[in-house]
Symmetry: C2
Subunit: 165 residues, 2 copies
DNA sequence: GTCAATTAAATTGTATACAATATAATCGTG
DNA sequence: CACGATTATATTGTATACAATTTAATTGAC
C-alpha cells in the first residue's frame, strides 16, 4: 500500500486530481453502496422470518400494502411499492397461485385489475404479527435510531420522488 | 376509513391488540421498506448517469471495487460487494463481453478466477469521475447529512454482518 | 501418498426489477 | 359518435439476486 495521509476526504466539491477521483470512487465513500449493502443485509435478515409464512421479501411488502388497503388496483399497489406492472403482474400471479390474493378485472373499468385478499391472505396477517419485532431485535439498534434512520430515508425518498419524471 | 387517533406509534415492544399489529405492519412504519424504497430511487437516479458509460448499477459497483483493487478473485470481489458467484459469474461474463475485464484462471490455484481490468476498463474510471458529484447534487442533501447517513448505514451493515453466518 | 473434506466457480432454477412494446379499454375533442 | 390520445395491464427480453447443486482443484489427516 502506498503511504497516505489519514485525512478523511468527505468532499462535496469535485476534485480533478488523480487521488481525489480515486477516493471519490471508493466503494466505502458511496452512500449508494451503503444503501445497497444495508438493503441486501436487511433482506437477508428477513428471509428466515418470512420462510415460515411462505413469502419472499417483495411479497411480504405487497401483503403489508394489501393489509393496509384492499381491494386495490395493480397501479395503486405499484405506486405504494414503487414497482411497475412488469414486476407486479408476475409477482401477483404467484401470490394468487399461493392462494393469498385474487386478481379480478374491474367491471366498472375493464382495464383495471383489482387485487383482493383471500381469507387465507387476510389471516396471514396474524402470523406475520411477530415479524417486525423479531427483525427489530435482529437489527440490534435502539428504537430511537431506527425511527431516526427511517425518517431520514423517507426524507431522501421524498426528495428523489420529486425529481423523478 | 375508520376513525383513528393521530397518535404516532413508534413502538419498540410488540403489542398484541388488533390495531397495534396493523400499525406495526404498516409499510410506512417499516425501516426495511424505507431502505428498499430509497435504494430503488437512488438506483434509478444513477441510471441516466451510468447509461453513457454503458454500465448497469451493479456493474458500476463492481467496477469501483476493481478500480480500488485489481486483479482480485471472484470471491474477493463477492465479499466486497456482498454477492456470490451465482450473481457475479454472469455479471462478470457480461463485463468481459463489454471489454472491461478479463477472467483468467489463477495458475497457482486453478480453482480461482482472477478478474483483471482491461485498458478500457481502467480508462473508464476517468469517465466515471463526475458521477459521484452529479449524484450528490441529485440527492439534494447537505454534505454532512450524506456523511452521517452513510455512517449510520455502514454501522447497521456491520452489525448485520456480525450476526450472519 | 491417498482419499475424504473443503474450497472456488459455475450451473440450474426461481424470483425480482425494469425498459420497451403490445393490447385492450376508456376518455376527450370535435 | 367517431377516432386519436391516453390509461391500465400484460408481455418480452435482459439483468440482477440467491438457494441448491455440480465440478474441479486443493488441503489435511492418517
Amino acid at each position: 500500500m502506498s503511504p497516505k495521509t489519514t485525512k478523511t476526504t468527505d468532499r462535496q466539491t469535485p476534485t480533478g486530481d488523480r487521488q481525489g477521483v480515486a477516493d471519490q470512487l471508493r466503494l466505502d465513500n458511496q452512500l449508494c453502496f451503503a444503501l445497497y449493502a444495508a438493503t441486501g443485509l436487511v433482506t437477508r435478515a428477513y428471509r428466515p422470518l418470512l420462510e415460515p409464512l411462505n413469502l419472499t421479501y417483495p411479497q411480504y411488502l405487497a401483503m403489508m400494502a394489501l393489509w393496509e388497503k384492499a381491494p386495490r388496483t395493480v397501479s395503486d399497489l405499484g405506486e405504494a411499492l414503487g414497482l411497475d406492472s412488469g414486476t407486479l403482474t408476475p409477482l401477483l400471479k404467484r401470490m394468487e397461485g399461493a392462494g393469498l390474493v385474487r386478481r379480478t378485472r374491474d367491471k366498472a373499468d375493464e382495464r383495471r385489475v383489482q387485487i383482493t385478499l383471500t381469507d387465507q391472505g387476510a389471516a396471514l396477517q396474524e402470523k406475520a404479527a411477530g415479524v417486525p419485532f423479531a427483525l427489530a431485535c435482529a437489527l440490534d439498534l435502539p428504537g430511537e435510531e431506527i425511527v431516526a434512520l427511517r425518517a431520514t430515508l423517507q426524507d431522501l425518498a421524498r426528495k428523489l420522488r420529486g425529481t423523478e419524471d
